[in-house]
Symmetry: C2
Subunit: 205 residues, 2 copies
Amino acid sequence: MRNKKTEDKKSFISEARRAQIFDAVIMTLDEIGYIHASLAQIAKKAGISTALISYHFRDKNDLMDYTLKKLLTDMSTYVLERTQASSTPGDKLRAYIEASIAYHVNKPKYNIALIEIVFHARTVDNIPYYKLDDDEENPLESELQQILLAGQEKKDFGDFNVVVMASAIRGSIDEYIFNKKLIGTIDPQTYSTELVNLFNRAVLR
Amino acid sequence: MRNKKTEDKKSFISEARRAQIFDAVIMTLDEIGYIHASLAQIAKKAGISTALISYHFRDKNDLMDYTLKKLLTDMSTYVLERTQASSTPGDKLRAYIEASIAYHVNKPKYNIALIEIVFHARTVDNIPYYKLDDDEENPLESELQQILLAGQEKKDFGDFNVVVMASAIRGSIDEYIFNKKLIGTIDPQTYSTELVNLFNRAVLR
DNA sequence: CTATAATTTGATCAACTGATCAAAAAAATG
DNA sequence: CATTTTTTTGATCAGTTGATCAAATTATAG
């Protein structure tokens, strides 16, 4: 199943325009949030007319869908590259946690935009993204489960429910993004390190 | 600092009306989400006119603020009652986790409403609630930190950063609410139990 | 029962929303 | 260069939004 407009569009040099609009969407979401992020505001930020956005994207949903996919790909690439550079499950787990936190620190605006879209945008059936059963398997989620599984098979890790452990790790990471007070109190390196130690204890046999 | 309208309002028998509107807000948020939850939709759900909502609440922000506070109080009460029924830090931690998950299972609509408001509503300065430095200390957060601290002082728990551990626990709990796929895969009792075991290992010396 | 106060409604408002379209401008083609 | 295609704009659309207000209704008080 391919994208309606995003992919079968003529796709000329105007890919640059889509990128430009993407940047404008990120900035707009970061600055005024989804609720105020009208096509007019986005167009203004990009220095173009609203009709031009409509020319390159079927509708607002298509635009947000495109933006979300790019954001997810960017984050996955960042984390997975750094994770797969390690070899043992223990090292991979450490790399996974540290890279995830690092990404949030390095691209805060991308994260805000991601949150804004996930919690505001809805499918044509009016189902919010955050309630979606994750259409395609989330690569970050499955990579984490693979690491944990490999650790158990190698007997590096003890016995635990892999899905629950993975959820706990992801939730712990996400907490750092959502909780503004946390970011102000604990620096990212400390949080990373403490999290690694915490889950090392939880994971070991 | 008291509420602008919510509190200094005449407060007659019409408290019942506010409760009625509260229920309508919950249902509307659950069914169609914040973005579509216009005053017209809420009024329709409550079987009253939109002007009546405006009569009892200063504006939409005031309405959402009132709703959010009631939701937070309800959740806190539920969890804290069950947590404080236990005596040792270890038992309290177990009770805290189990009650938190149980609440989500028992009042799913309240949770959806909570999420919708936290991630959509904004202050007059256009700061989203989820970016707020948590104006008043979150009672659920501080209770958890108290439990962990007490456990360390009693030497029941080992050495770890209390704030990070508390965030990890909260994040792990919240993950179960946010991740629809998780809810469909792992039943709440299993998730609770696994989480308790996981953090027992992480917390012990 | 009357008068005063509180509650509720329906009508109405300007502001903004996403989307469409003909026409203009720019780019690509031959 | 002329023509065809792609890109871009400005004007415009109907629909929705939150909010206001005078008037009607209901409750309360004396």
